[in-house]
Amino acid sequence: MRRALYLLPLLLFLVLGGFFARSLRPDYDPHVLPSAMIDREAPQFDLAGLKDEGLARDALKGGPVLINFFASWCVPCRVEHPLLMALANREHVPLYGIDYKDQPEDAAKLLAQFGDPYRRVGLDRDGRVGLDFGVYGVPETYVLDSDGHIRKRFVGPLTAEQVDKELLPLLKALRKS
């Protein structure tokens, strides 16, 4: 019994060490927050469109879709842009854009210059829809299932690794169910 007490510091060290080791991992970012909206119904929205059609939540039901919050003024959005193009063109992922706190002309120019991966783009000029989604910085990407429930959120620019290991398998699973 007394001997066991001497193991206590070692145990404490292992617990603390494990905790610190987790924080030291290169892919750990303390600023990435879990979304409070996971498994909840996506907030209602009905936005004017950048192209001809508008974007409303209820029009997106019927299959898993991706909603990508972006803006022309957002630098990390340009980083992920080629990946979004590949997702739309190669994987044929139904990708919808919400242009967050942006001028429509600027967004149109961006899409004309770098390509347009979105089936439709909604204009969220005052950021209110972003607020309802719990967006705290662009880009953010949400996966909605066929009932319109939020299943996953990616904060920051998507990476090829996230797409391969998380996004595509999730979409595949959602399509089956």
């Binding site: 927050l33 879990p34 909206m37 950021g127 705290y136 910085g137």
Partner: protein, 164 residues
């Protein structure tokens, strides 16, 4: 002293003036056009807003932060209060969007038990450890049984040896 340029009464009054102004130095980031016309409602908004974390600058409240997101949440909070939400309802509406992390003071939940009770538990553990330690010390210094004949002989021999 003769070389002094500033008379002491002046230095003192400048100091007093600074101290009087000091409380006003901490200004909230709330912009004038965000404020509600009703001072009571605005006071409620500020009271709630100072308990909400700005998710961009993470250790500032939304009332203190200049971030665009903080502005948006401030405006949303005031809209909610204007539509007649209670303080709890308004706060809950923002927690629903951003999660418990948005509260600067963590609520008492199973996930935060360690945070709330950990220090107290460590203190209690410490007390128990000290108690054990004190008890073990008392046991080791007290004489429980007299020496038997063999031990007494050995002690006498050793003492005798030391006398020589």
């Amino acid at each position: 002293m003769t070389g002094r340029a500033v008379p002491s009464w002046l230095a003192k009054s400048v100091l007093v003036a600074f101290l009087l102004l000091a409380p006003t130095v901490h200004l909230l980031a709330v912009e004038p056009n965000e404020r509600l016309a009703d001072p009571a409602l605005e006071a409620r908004a500020v009271a709630i807003g100072t308990t909400l974390r700005c998710l961009v600058c993470q250790n500032e409240s939304i009332e203190d932060s200049n971030a665009g997101l903080a502005h948006d949440i401030r405006v949303l909070l005031r809209q909610l209060l204007l539509t007649g939400d209670s303080d709890t309802q308004a706060r809950q509406a923002i927690v629903a969007r951003y999660g418990e992390f948005v509260l600067l003071k963590p609520p008492l939940l199973p996930a935060t038990y360690i945070l709330w009770f950990g220090p107290g538990a460590l203190l209690v553990l410490g007390f128990i450890a000290v108690l054990f330690w004190l008890r073990s010390r008392r046991v080791s210094t007290s004489i429980d049984a007299p020496l038997d004949a063999q031990e007494q002989n050995r002690l006498d021999a050793l003492l005798h040896e030391a006398d020589r």
